[in-house]
């Protein structure tokens, strides 16, 4: 059974591409086959985060316009043989993504892969609408910050009205992935808590990815964070999130807490 997931947020810079790469790698490392698809035409970056930027020959638009076959455009990850990338076009206009073309490509990917992860561009325009269009499930990426939460709320509204599933009268599963979470700020009362954000958005929690240098280091070297720092907290959060997506019993999402004081700082790093 194949599942199409959109990684979306409305707001830019919250971690959609990082998340797509990390979840894609985490799912692929279980042995499932995974296609990650960049919908950000003109501003592609998933190739860069995956370290495949120099291997792009054909792209999504080339496939839609019939200039390349889908298998020609797919790039196989060098580390995980089950992980494949369909890059966006860097030069074309976003209008080159047609409804029919996207439907056909997603349909073909669905028949070939266990998981299809669609990395949405920011905003609510055409690219974002098409990225969510065929999804069975949405991972809504948000920071615990007012503008991000507001945009996530807007995106949830669109997921419930503009997706194929919604138009058929079916529901689309929506999960919140809280990223760049800073436990210290939350405990000082200067960042909305997990409970605050969950209460406002009222969708189930898939995971909490703490703010961490691991994420920047991973993108610096073009490696998903689950592979670059597999024992770090962001990687563990993504690996758990992937297991939840696979339906494994992982237990409740652990809310990061910051231990106070010198002792905490010296010995509490794992818990922090």
């Amino acid at each position: 059974m194949s599942e199409v997931i959109v990684v979306t947020s409305g707001k830019g810079g919250v971690g959609k591409t990082t998340t797509t790469a990390a979840l894609g790698a985490a799912l692929a490392s279980t042995g499932d086959t995974v296609a990650v698809v960049d919908f950000d035409v003109g501003l592609r970056n998933l190739d860069l985060v995956l370290g495949a930027e120099r291997r792009v020959v054909f792209d999504f638009i080339n496939v839609i316009q019939g200039h390349a076959k889908l298998p020609q455009a797919m790039i196989r990850d060098k580390r995980l043989e089950n992980l494949w990338l369909l890059p966006a076009s860097q030069t074309r206009d976003k209008d080159a993504l047609t409804d029919e073309g996207v439907a056909q490509v997603i349909g073909e990917l669905r028949s070939r892969f266990d998981w299809v992860l669609c990395d949405s561009p920011a905003g609510i325009e055409r690219g974002a609408a098409l990225a969510m269009r065929h999804a069975d499930l949405a991972v809504v990426v948000s920071n615990a910050e007012v503008s991000s939460v507001r945009d996530s709320d807007r995106i949830i509204g669109l997921l419930d009205s503009k997706t194929e599933r919604a138009e058929r009268g079916e529901t689309i599963d929506k999960y919140l992935l809280l990223t760049r979470y800073d436990a210290a700020r939350a405990s000082r009362g200067d960042m909305m808590s997990v409970e605050d954000v969950l209460e406002i958005l009222s969708i189930p929690l898939l995971g909490i990815v703490p703010e961490s240098e691991d994420v920047l280091r991973a993108s610096n070297i073009g490696t998903p964070v689950t592979l670059a720092s597999p024992t770090g907290r962001p990687a563990r959060a993504y690996l758990d999130a992937a297991r939840r997506l696979r339906g494994e019993a992982v237990g409740e999402v652990e809310i990061p807490v910051e231990k106070q004081g010198l002792i905490g700082r010296l010995f509490g790093r794992r818990a922090a």
């Binding site: 910050e145 007012v146 939460v149 507001r150 709320d153 807007r154 509204g157 009205s161 939350a186 000082r188 009362g189 200067d190 960042m191 909305m192 808590s193 605050d196 209460e199 406002i200």
Partner: protein, 93 residues
């Protein structure tokens, strides 16, 4: 940090949460589906009233208020005095 820590500072996170809750309660009903509903209502109500009195289209305001148990749709429209006799006539029939 240490000195300031002695004085309880107003937490900004709760301000963020409260502002969002108010804003989103408004946006969830104001945007998308219900704004389409209001536009349609506006058009149809105008058409119905225009059968009896002339109404200036720019002087019509349709809004929706959400309260705990229900939503209230308010329709404000101005009818110029010149049209009142006709309106009274229509109402007394």
């Amino acid at each position: 940090m240490s000195l300031f820590g002695l004085f309880p500072r107003k937490k900004t996170a709760s301000a963020a949460r409260d502002r969002l809750q108010i804003l989103l309660a408004h946006e969830r009903t104001g945007g998308g589906g219900s704004s389409e509903l209001l536009a349609k209502l506006r058009e149809e109500v105008l058409a119905a009233i225009a059968k009896h009195v002339s109404v200036d289209e720019t002087r019509v305001n349709v809004s929706m208020k959400n309260e705990d148990e229900m939503s209230i749709i308010e329709i404000d429209l101005e009818i110029p005095h010149a049209d009142l006799p006709r309106l009274r006539l229509a109402a007394s029939r």
